[in-house]
Symmetry: C3
Subunit: 468 residues, 3 copies
């Protein structure tokens, strides 16, 4: 009995010592879940900020594409518009837009908090997420605004331009953004959800913004080009369209490479999470872009007998726009098919808008962003794959055995984007036209906007034929 008691005594001492050691290790050296979560959070912040920087970089891409595809006499003007829509958009979105898009809402139509980063600033820096989310969303908002300038290039008054790009980032983009992405900041179920997130046929699927960013920008561009009318000389007395070649194809190509690069932030970055899925999304994004470029080239080759560079470059962009919504939900093979169709579609659409609708869109913005944004959005309802989503996922597309429901949601979302963006666009552009004016004078347009609006030329010292 004593032996047992002694043994117990010894064992207890050992146990106390062991537990003590453990306790010491526990408090000083063992890592808790919260510590690891903080590191994961920081990793997500680093990834998301890198992605935001890449999306910012797309502003340079748009500037180069739009300048390159238009005439030398308007190059300074295009540059200024791209610089200013980002600058004005940054401030409008910071002041008002972010709050409309991600603030609290009852109706799911309009947010009403978080203006001027209220509730985000001052909560510390260590592992705070809000700051990074705001900069990521800011560069997205500015992308929607900058799409419009291409379609309205070479004839829009500078003051008119500043006005409408302010309202796009202030109201038009954020409101639709609330409808589709409202819950992204605060999380679901807390009164920030948009109405498209709660459709009975399943939440509207637009992972990185084929509709939210690109179609909205594209339909605004369509409204703008319509209200503005074509450039002088674009349509002959017989109504036939005349090609007005861009002045710098190497610059435009550089712009496309910049945009392609930036899209690796746009799509994989929309996870706002640094994990294996970003590599998969980079693959779907890249395959669709490559297929878009190749098939736009072959389509143009077939139709016009030459492999046109503008079409091939726009084909890459069309593939990128189309894969933006479904980039996280389709297989690489699905992405390839979506890109192929985007490449064919952009050539047909550019030709149709140019020759049949007779709307003058100098860089093809409506076809690239509007039409292919629509196509990519619908493609979710067709190509979303269980292999990626998980077995039995309700958002599986029609071609992968998921039924018609998701496709219905996609039509509802894409349709409401058209109604909202084209409708508010028409109102906005007509209002500007009736007040401060939307279009420059005939003399100014012929002479070039650079000299008249900005008092300078883009290529001083070069012999350039501006009477073209």
């Amino acid at each position: 009995m004593r032996r047992i008691t002694k043994a117990l005594l010894a064992a207890t001492i050992v146990l106390i010592a062991a537990t003590g050691l453990f306790a010491a290790e526990g408090t000083a050296d063992v890592v808790k879940k919260a510590d690891l979560d903080a590191v994961t959070n920081n990793l997500n912040i680093v990834w998301t900020l890198v992605a935001a920087i890449l999306v910012f970089w797309m502003q340079a891409g748009f500037a180069m594409v739009e300048a390159g595809f238009t005439r030398a006499k308007n190059a300074v003007n295009i540059i200024m518009k791209n610089l200013m829509d980002f600058s004005i958009g940054t401030i409008a979105f910071f002041m008002v837009g972010f709050g409309l898009m991600f603030g609290a809402t009852k109706s799911g139509l309009l947010g009403g908090s978080n203006f001027m980063m209220d509730g985000i600033i001052g909560t510390g820096g260590g592992t705070e997420w809000g700051y990074t989310f705001v900069i990521f969303q800011t560069v997205f908002a500015a992308t929607a605004a900058t799409i419009v300038s291409g379609a309205m290039a070479e004839r829009t008054k500078f003051t008119g331009y500043l006005t409408y790009s302010f309202f796009i980032c202030l109201i038009i983009y954020p409101v639709f953004g609330k409808w589709a992405w409202g819950s992204l900041f605060a999380g679901g179920g807390n009164g920030a959800n948009g109405w498209l997130e709660g459709l009975k046929t399943g939440a509207f699927c637009d992972f990185a913004g084929s509709t939210v960013v690109h179609s909205v920008g594209g339909w605004l561009a369509l409204a703008g080009a319509l209200v503005l009318g074509p450039r002088i000389g674009k349509y002959g007395p017989d109504g036939k369209p005349k090609a007005i070649p861009g002045h710098n194809i190497t610059l435009a190509a550089l712009g496309v490479f910049i945009l392609w690069m930036g899209w690796f932030g746009f799509n994989p970055g929309s996870t706002t999470t640094g994990n294996g899925s970003i590599g998969r999304i980079a693959m779907t994004t890249n395959l669709a872009a490559a297929a878009g470029a190749i098939f736009a080239m072959f389509t143009a080759w077939f139709m016009f007998k030459k492999p046109d560079a503008s079409m091939a470059l726009n084909g890459a962009l069309a593939g990128l726009v189309a894969i933006t919504a479904p980039c996280n939900t389709v297989t690489p093979m699905g992405a390839l098919i979506i890109g192929i169709i985007a490449g064919i579609l952009v050539v047909l659409s550019v030709t149709f808008i140019d020759s049949k609708l007779k709307i003058d869109d100098p860089v093809g913005a409506v076809s690239v962003h509007g039409v292919n944004g629509l196509w990519g959005t619908l493609a979710c309802g067709l190509f979303n794959a269980e292999k990626i989503l998980g077995t039995g996922d309700a958002s599986t597309g029609l071609f992968y055995g998921g039924g018609i429901n998701q496709l219905i949601s996609q039509f509802i979302g894409a349709g409401s984007a058209f109604v909202w963006a084209f409708g508010t666009g028409l109102i906005l552009f007509i209002a500007i036209k009736k007040t401060i004016g939307l279009r420059v004078s005939k003399e100014e347009e012929l002479k070039g906007l650079d000299i008249e609006e900005h008092g300078m030329e883009a290529y001083s010292g070069f012999q350039i034929f501006t009477n073209q």
Copy 2:
């Protein structure tokens, strides 16, 4: 009693088993703090290297801005200068500069170790921090050097250029760097601190280098432009300045977009830590840049009746330079105000230097980097906010209830930067002028530096009027 003893026996056995299990898990599977710290360290390395790559990219931005804002006949020369200042700077900073800036020091004036990465190489690769710190600091040093080339463009002798850019990265930049940032590598209290870090009114505040990089570069540029004199034809017989327009505004605009992008590495990267603060710094940086662009445009519009593109582009850069020091210590609203003032200031400064001081600075480098670097540095003493710094922080600025102390430190730091950089700059440029020569011949300047210095032209095949 036996029952109790038996119960104790059983409990002890269970405990031994439990502790045993725990110990097994402890040695094999439980994560220690050091393991997690290693991952955090690696995350910081990844973020800092990405930031370093973005800061490297600013070299391309400077090259494009400076080439675009000058004449076509000197474009090859500008390109070569930008390529060479980075290349020579890289090697000078590796050999000597890094050691002067971050090595051990007693006086706080000059470091004396870590030359040629001594004490850094060979310590392993796993989680080592030193390597990444060296590359990050290398690209910063090269930024200071490259600022100078813009102010001295279109007339500086190539051999003179190579000489002074070597000395800037070898000595001038690193010495001031030691004063302000000496402790960054080794940590405080170990004998690497610079004297500006130990001011009685509080450590000099220059988070990412408004003074250390930009003002130092700007005051060197001022010294260079003064010693060199204006370009032929810049001032008429009546002393009135003549505008000499740049040859490629789309290229210059691309350069500004590149610089803006690179600044997202420059400012948020100066944390050298991947956490929530990088998103906040990206927001302050972006808001100041946007405000700078807008207000420079409106100021120019008001003064010259046209929204000048060069001013708007320089306004964005002015906002970026100004927010560089206070990016981590002010609120977004503070950043916006700092940017607005920077935008107005750059237009006034460019006009004043051009018309009143009659110093020929082809790209506005002194106004953008010198004057706005000064403004941003002083702004720390005005706008530093407790909301960001923490309640009662001694570096809080005057406008936010922090008293005059930090502002005094800012004047001391900025003043010593002017004395050091402008003073050593004058000595260096005059020494070069008296020996190998600083300026090309009149014939060479008129014909263009490309043909005379490099035996080639930038735009072969294009019709260009070089007699301008």
Copy 3:
């Protein structure tokens, strides 16, 4: 006795409580190694994807360098070729190339699984590595293909171009890739190793691809330029070479800056691991590039009496190509020496190929990628340093006390690359020449490929002398 028993009882209760607490913490809050490994894995994914994006960006760099160094009348064509080789290469590598390069193999000659991402898709997204590895390898494959277009610029038929770039990414690059890097995906010893990884003198050392990517591209370019013959007017009736200047040196310089930036993904990214070594590799990469630029400039200055910009720009690229193989195994000082030799070598090689071999390589691709890829590969056998590799490492180079073995392996690897790439290149180009045709007609070449092949010009509105 009772006291002891009571004390034991109390102690046991405390212990039970303590262990209980621990157990609770253990299951709910203590972090396991697998959790931490998942975060590390995600960090590696983020770093590798960022690196992949930077390598993608090099496509823009090649496009700008090749366009800038050739004539304006062929700029659209060069742009289209660069866009298309990446697009076609993406799809060819996805379909077939990746499987040949990284799939299972018995012989070490050719992989036979993982086609179309088989075995990679659908394994989840959380912490999956395969997706990111595929995109990283895709952008590498496309780099090899795009090198060729520079050497064959201004005279290659577009359909011929599309054909050969397809086969390079489909077969030629992946097969040599298998030989040198076959085990990278699946890990060693699992039947994916290439034969060059198992040499008796030690595994062939080519960390980031001086041989696998650059020499393979360079020797293919050599075969292509040989089969194609020189441009009209390149060699006079006396056989003397005539300089055909590029049309846009600022664009070419931008391309070099883009490539330099991209190389910070190419080399440090080849770790596919985010840790301290990436900073070290960035330093060796940067030092070699800087030394290459400086010494190419001085060599050209010495030989031609002027500091030629094309040579300095190519010198930076030569340094980058040369450091690619040894970037992770040499000291910074070793990197500096490797870069110096690369800078001298590229000028000698360009002159030799142009004047002695009389092979017309418009942008110097064979010298930059082929010759300097060879030099960098051999440099591993000379400069690999124990200080970096660890004491007694068998791959230590000859100059650092490691004997001749590694150098022998380097000769075997580099030699087999030449035989494979130059050999298959000759067969491929001759086959195309005999069937669909490799070269445009004399009229087309004189008029420019842009108008004839693509029906457009790059710089509409500019006065350009195309009869040059």
